[in-house]
């Protein structure tokens, strides 16, 4: 472990030197010759400008690259590397034993991002994380979609299309949360332990097509999206799925502090043809819905309080016809301690699965410290408490660790 820690520190020092020499900042910051903080409170948390940038097809709000001048680069490529060291400990509360103690170098996730304008309205965005951990390497195309922006040619981004693989805009996206963890309801998998294949996780990117935008003509902060997808994880599942979804949220400002309220609805059918579970295919209807809110304190704008309440139902998760119903949500707080420097966050998640009484509670706290413009030190402490009475698992899993986030 000592050797591992020393090696990790050496890597950190080496990369820090590399970065301070290059003065490089990633992707869009480089393209637009601006700082990361134009769009991010701290990476990956998007601020209001960043959300408008994203909503406008990864172009500055109010702009369309059909007006781009010859000296403006249209393509951008960024790399994000996040090595983490974690200590994980699991405790069985019934047997009063501690097991599964692990001190791990959890690996390096290297995210490759690319975006470019392909003409007057077309652009694309792609994110390909490469995860190097435990001696193996995995590559996934997390997002790869074409965007046709500013369809109405009015410069406001009220109507855009995207086609390909993306995360749906329902509720909180990963880059609207500071914690790395996805909400429990979104990631809950009823088939976990029953089959090799996952059934459904709303947090995962999906193939689909959607129309979205910001309706400035109606209300400045009114954002919408409707779309149809092939279901989540459709790139790795043997199962087929089709779903429709929609979301709507409104931002209002009090003393220039944003307050956002919204909701989402997702429903679809998954045709399960996995022969490892049953020779006879069956269909499972998946429904997820929720409401969410985010409020910045209107005095200092340093405290960002947010939360989501969501319900989920899978009407037939196995051949026995069992239905699964989930209720859950989260509440959290992001705090700006020193602008462009130091941030704290905390979040509480809960999820109750009714049929098998699987109750989960999770507390997640951490910090971000910007050592250099593109080097961020992170620390995280997570406790997941899971209960499956009467005779099932009753355990607590605690993880704490530290890492570094490099952007190039």
């Amino acid at each position: 472990m000592k050797k591992l820690a020393v090696a990790f520190l050496l890597v950190v020092v080496f990369l820090s030197c590399l970065v301070s020499e290059s003065h490089a900042i990633p992707l869009f910051a480089r393209k637009y010759n601006t700082t990361c903080f134009t769009c991010h409170t701290t990476e990956p948390l998007l601020n209001e400008f960043g959300r408008r940038f994203q909503a406008n097809g990864f172009q500055l709000p109010g702009t369309s690259e059909k007006f781009a001048q010859a000296d403006q680069p249209t393509a951008a490529l960024g790399i994000l590397a996040t090595p983490m060291v974690l200590h994980t400990q699991t405790h069985d509360n019934i047997l009063d034993t501690t097991f599964g103690i692990q001190n791990t170098f959890s690996g390096i996730e290297v995210g490759l991002f690319s975006s470019a304008s392909l003409g007057s309205h077309f652009s694309y965005f792609a994110a390909v994380p490469i995860i190097i951990a435990n001696g193996s390497t995995s590559i996934e195309v997390e997002a790869a979609h074409l965007i046709y922006s500013d369809v109405l040619n009015d410069g406001t981004g009220s109507l855009n299309f995207r086609l390909g693989k993306f995360r749906i805009f329902s509720g909180f996206l990963k880059n609207v949360l500071l914690t790395g963890a996805d909400p429990l309801v979104d990631t809950y998998d009823p088939l976990a332990g029953k089959t090799a294949n996952d059934l459904f996780a709303a947090a995962d990117p999906t193939f689909g097509v959607s129309a979205y935008g910001t309706l400035y003509a109606i209300s400045e902060g009114l954002r919408w999206e409707v779309g149809a997808t092939g279901g989540t994880k459709s790139d790795i599942d043997l199962n087929t799925a089709r779903a429709v979804f929609g979301s709507l949220d409104q931002t209002v400002y009090i003393n220039n502090a944003p307050m956002r309220f919204g909701g989402f609805y997702y429903t679809g059918v998954q045709d399960i043809t996995d022969t490892s579970m049953s020779a006879t295919p069956w269909s499972n209807r998946v429904t997820r819905a929720g409401v969410d809110a985010e409020i910045y304190d209107p005095w200092t704008k340093r405290f960002d309080l947010f939360g989501e309440y969501s319900i989920g139902k899978d009407d037939k998760v196995d051949t026995a016809g069992g239905a699964y119903t989930m209720v859950g949500g989260f509440a959290g707080l992001n705090v700006i301690i020193v602008p462009e420097k130091f941030y704290l966050y905390g979040r509480y998640d809960w999820m109750n699965q009714k049929e098998v009484s699987d109750n989960q509670h999770q507390i997640d706290v951490g910090f971000h410290y910007h050592l250099l413009p593109n080097v961020v030190l992170t620390g995280v402490y997570t406790t997941l408490m899971e209960t499956q009475p009467p005779a099932g698992v009753d355990k607590t899993t605690t993880t704490f660790g530290a890492g570094i986030l490099f952007g190039f």
Binding site: H23, Y32, N33, T34, T35, F37, T38, T41, N47, E48, F49, R52, Q59, L60, P61, G62, T63, S64, E65, K66, F67, A68, Q69, Q72, G155, T156, G157, T214, Y216, E220, Y253, N255, N256, A257, P258, Y296, T300, K301, R302, I336, P339, E340
Partner: protein, 279 residues
């Protein structure tokens, strides 16, 4: 020789373009001074308000106060547009900017800050934002603020070993090193003591770092700053204290610092000029 000729032609072209641009003729077809006080249609202002609220209000706030939703996350507050104090101008120290100055800032952004370049915004929309943001400050409607004394670039002095050496002498004479440091790296004795008119702590520009030239890095851009100063900051205008020719020498010297820290006393001028394609 060929490069030198090419540079002269390019420089003349640049000067010509800039003069034309500063008159608004090349791009906008109107004189910027006249445009500053020209009446603006309600439709333009409505469009300007819409585009400002979409693109600018996250930082500057819908009321132009510089207190937008993300202001607290930035080390330096976005500009309070209600005060009518602007850095990037072609007008005399303390004066309002021309409309074209505002248009240029929106278009090019302020390098290496949170203000991005809105080059890809429709030109008409940028123009309407110019008209709209002028509504935030009563200075623009005050007739005593006019006429604006717009900078006359005059005859450009091209970089040469003699010009750079003269510039270096002026750099020391005018106490530039007190803030920007003896090598121009922004580390002079007074560095770290400055606060702008908006209460932001500001550091002198590191003149050896290309990224730090906020309003363009050509000798002409630097000459403009020496001639107008940066309103609201300790950076003064030298229009009254240095002749136009001396300002060009100083601009050439500062321009030469961008790609090298070798040049200290004129000895490395040849290599610098070669690097810049001027020799």
């Amino acid at each position: 020789m060929y490069l030198q000729s090419l540079t002269v032609v390019a420089a003349l072209g640049l000067v010509g373009f800039t003069i034309a641009s500063s008159n608004g003729a090349a791009t906008l077809g109107t004189d910027p001074v006249a445009m500053t006080s020209a009446p603006t249609s309600n439709a333009t202002l409505e469009r300007g308000k819409l585009m400002f609220n979409i693109s600018c209000s996250p930082c500057h706030g819908a009321d132009g106060s510089g207190n937008g939703p993300i202001e607290v996350n930035l080390r330096n507050s976005p500009r309070d547009l209600r005060r009518g104090i602007y850095l990037n101008r072609s007008t005399a120290s303390g004066q309002l900017p021309t409309d074209y100055d505002l248009y240029r800032t929106i278009t090019s952004g302020i390098h290496n800050t949170a203000m991005p370049p809105f080059k890809a915004m429709a030109p008409g929309d940028r123009w309407s934002i110019v008209q709209y943001i002028k509504m935030f400050s009563s200075r623009f409607a005050d007739s005593t603020e006019y006429p604006l004394d717009v900078l006359n670039v005059g005859a450009e002095v091209l970089p040469s070993p003699q010009s750079l050496a003269k510039g270096r002498t002026l750099y020391l004479q005018m106490q530039c090193a007190n803030c920007h440091g003896i090598r121009g790296q922004g580390d002079g004795p007074a560095a770290g003591t400055h606060v702008d008119d908006f209460g932001n702590q500001i550091m002198p520009t590191d003149l050896t770092n290309l990224s730090n030239f906020k309003f363009g890095r050509s000798a002409l851009d630097i000459f403009r700053i020496f001639s107008t100063g940066l309103n609201g900051t300790p950076m003064p205008s030298y229009a009254q204290t240095l002749s136009e020719t001396d300002r060009w020498h100083l601009a050439n010297y500062v321009w030469s610092l961008q790609n090298t820290d070798q040049y200290m006393d004129g000895a490395g001028a040849d290599s610098i000029l070669m690097a810049h394609g001027s020799k």
